[in-house]
Symmetry: C2
Subunit: 441 residues, 2 copies
């Protein structure tokens, strides 16, 4: 099933007149995208990944199979070279993926922060396990993954000597850069980060597909779903197009003072997808002193923490709730003769049913309290349907960014961070920047 949008719980703030008023603008934004005439149109390769990646699939699968022969795969990457794979892994497999029994190897994500204890603990988890590694970095010089990859190389040299390079696969720039050169020098197998795909849009390139294939994900089905969704949402008329209507709805809400979007779901497997969404939307729209701040929540857990705020606090936010349908679990509330907890009326009822009731109860209550919910529904936790979901959000984000009047495909502020960090750490060539920063203290 394709992603659908239900505006029932946003009707206090959005009606068809609002949509009629923004229809032409939205169509214009979509034309900028599909006609490749908008800002950042050199970075639209993600729209065709479901087609262009086909050719590479056998090689990716073959590399993944060799990686899978080890007990744990270290996945080195940060930002877009980390979040997409992790999001899909937890959604399609489990947030407890590493702890659960399985035939595929553990996946340990490293190089995604600068914490000593984090890296020491991951390395201690590696003790006694056969290892391999995937290193993902377009340039090869971003501090976090580059430093972590040094640790991996050093560990692998120690453990595997001359055979170390056979256990490492790189995903990097096709032609240039530090990691690309290292591939030649060390003989790593490698895959390309396409030139025309930004990090946050790269999950359906080798950046995401290689680690996912190593974990046993059906990457072809993922591409199939994304491809079908891209076609679908590019062709449906506005009134029936949930993707464009979602983009329009969030812009309408923003214009009405809703400056925070809370991405939420009722399944913990969605938590990391929400993190991926925060990068996708935050980095695409958070510029020129504009943008909806992307937050996230995991329900029902966070109804017992953020619920009070969502119900009664500042009325400057809205929720985007993803309803994951198609679950087939029969896990139910157990019976209890005494019924002391008063839960007898639920005995035998499947959790999935109760959970969906919670979703409806909450959306209704929040709407009454003045916080609208944009309700998206998606099918089960299959690769095909997750591919559709990813494509839905990618396209919605691009259209939304154009509606907002920004370039959805650059990230000047992130470059600024990388530069500042180089400067403060004393990297040669950044002396002036360093002096400017230190003056502040």
């Amino acid at each position: 099933m394709a992603v659908e949008l239900d505006l029932t719980y946003a009707s206090e703030l959005l009606d068809e007149r609002d949509f009629a008023g923004i229809e032409r603008e939205t169509a214009g934004a979509a034309r900028l995208l599909d006609g490749r005439r908008g800002a950042g149109s050199g970075f639209l390769g993600w729209l065709v990944l479901p087609r262009t990646m086909r050719e590479a699939l056998p090689a990716i699968r073959e590399a993944a199979e060799r990686l899978s022969a080890s007990q744990a795969v270290l996945v080195v990457g940060i930002g877009g070279s980390y979040l997409g794979a992790r999001a899909a892994l937890e959604y399609l497999k489990s947030p407890f993926y590493n702890a659960l029994k399985k035939t595929a190897p553990d996946l340990y994500f490293i190089g995604n922060n600068l914490s000593a204890s984090y890296h020491e603990e991951i390395l201690s988890l590696c003790e006694g396990k056969e290892l391999s590694a995937i290193v993902i970095s377009k340039s090869g010089t971003t501090t976090e993954p580059a430093a972590a990859f040094r640790a991996v190389r050093s560990l692998f040299r120690e453990r595997y000597g001359a055979k170390a390079s056979e256990r490492i696969v790189a995903v990097t720039d096709e032609r240039r850069g530090a990691l690309r050169e290292l591939c030649d020098a060390e003989g790593y197998r490698r895959f390309a980060v396409p030139d025309d795909v930004g990090g946050r849009y790269s999950v359906l390139s080798a950046v995401g597909l290689l680690p996912l294939a190593a974990a046993g994900v059906d990457i072809e089905a993922l591409l199939d779903g994304a491809g079908d969704a891209f076609s679908r949402y590019a062709s449906l008329p506005f009134s029936e197009n949930p993707c464009h209507r979602y983009a329009a709805a969030r812009n309408l809400l923003y214009r009405k003072g809703r400056v925070v979007e809370v991405f939420a779901s009722y399944e913990p497997c969605f938590v990391q997808t929400a993190e991926w969404l925060k990068q996708l939307f935050g980095e695409s729209e958070g510029k020129d002193r504009k943008g909806i701040f992307p937050a996230s929540a995991s329900f029902t857990a966070d109804l017992h923490s953020l619920g009070q705020f969502l119900q009664d606090g500042s009325r400057n936010l809205f929720e985007t709730v993803v309803d994951i349908r198609g679950g087939k679990s029969r896990f139910s509330v157990a019976g209890d003769a005494s019924d002391g907890d008063g839960l007898g009326y639920l005995a035998g009822k499947p959790y999935e049913e109760i959970n969906r009731s919670a979703l409806e109860a909450v959306a209704a209550a929040h709407a009454e309290g003045g916080t609208p919910t944009l309700l998206l529904s998606t099918g089960g936790r299959t690769e095909y349907e997750y591919g559709m979901l990813l494509a839905f959000f990618e396209r919605a984000c691009a259209v939304s960014g154009y509606l907002l009047g920004v370039n959805p495909f650059n990230q000047p502020g992130v470059e600024g961070y990388k530069r500042n960090l180089f400067a403060l750490l004393g990297k040669p060539g950044y002396e002036d920047e360093r002096e400017r920063l230190l003056k502040r203290k």
Copy 2:
């Protein structure tokens, strides 16, 4: 070391005149708190937990020791009966606590959502392990933990028969409620949720202390730190009081249009403490259509996702960054003869040093970009210092809530959610509510 506040990176928006202007108000808020004359003053038991919990420590330790004899402890709870223990566990032990080698048992948190797959997966992790359980619920009728506790009882009856009750410890109301009655009927060992302590302020009661003691945390040191911090921040004059100045600063920023606070740190062990903070502040202040929306980030990871927004996006937010000092790890960037990645200038440098440089670089860059940082520093990851940190935030939140003009100790919106859920699920006695909710669809 006590918690300190550094306003260097907020100086564009806050200066001493601002603080002078709000000093009297802040002192008034603190007097409301300490004089027990403010709204919700029946719920100030948390201020004296470091003293009142002493007596219970031997019994808590003894119960924890018996729980620790099993290989995994199921901890059933949601909201304040979940977040505090999990936050402290990850901060003081590790986010990878369960996966790491240790002498204490695994801790599995359940009853904190309504996801079938979540609970099925946790139960599959329990296979082949000796189990015990802690159930934490004031009433015993909250849907999520009550349903999960039914699953635990059913599993334990199956596995341990008549001995099941010996493996269960309850933390619940001292005198009444469904769980309290179950304790009598089944003979569970039990500890009290104090009447005058709300869920989000309960981490230093048996609610947090029992599971933490089972994981080998020094709960007495935690209380010591909190007690010293409460005394300290109640007595320091405003100009030297980081706790009151933090409360004042966030209110000043809110009045200047900063409607989102991003709680962040550079250590992944802080991620769950940020979740605890989101409940603490969100539930205390998010009412009467007011309040700063509490969000969180984990740096440096999220600089590669939210960094763009924080640097260049809407200027309606501020960051509260907790700098965790006192780390003693020597984990360093590895050397590499070729230096292809250009990281040679960092070779041999400890991660902790690099991480702190990142903190400074980022705070400076964000301040320049127009996003201020309130920088809090705390000592190492010891129980005593974490106790201080918790107490710092608890007191700051109470003072801040009074400054905002709300009752920081109620949560009418959460009660609303519980009621709505009962109604939509068809609980007897909620028929009218149910009809009202269904009309909407």
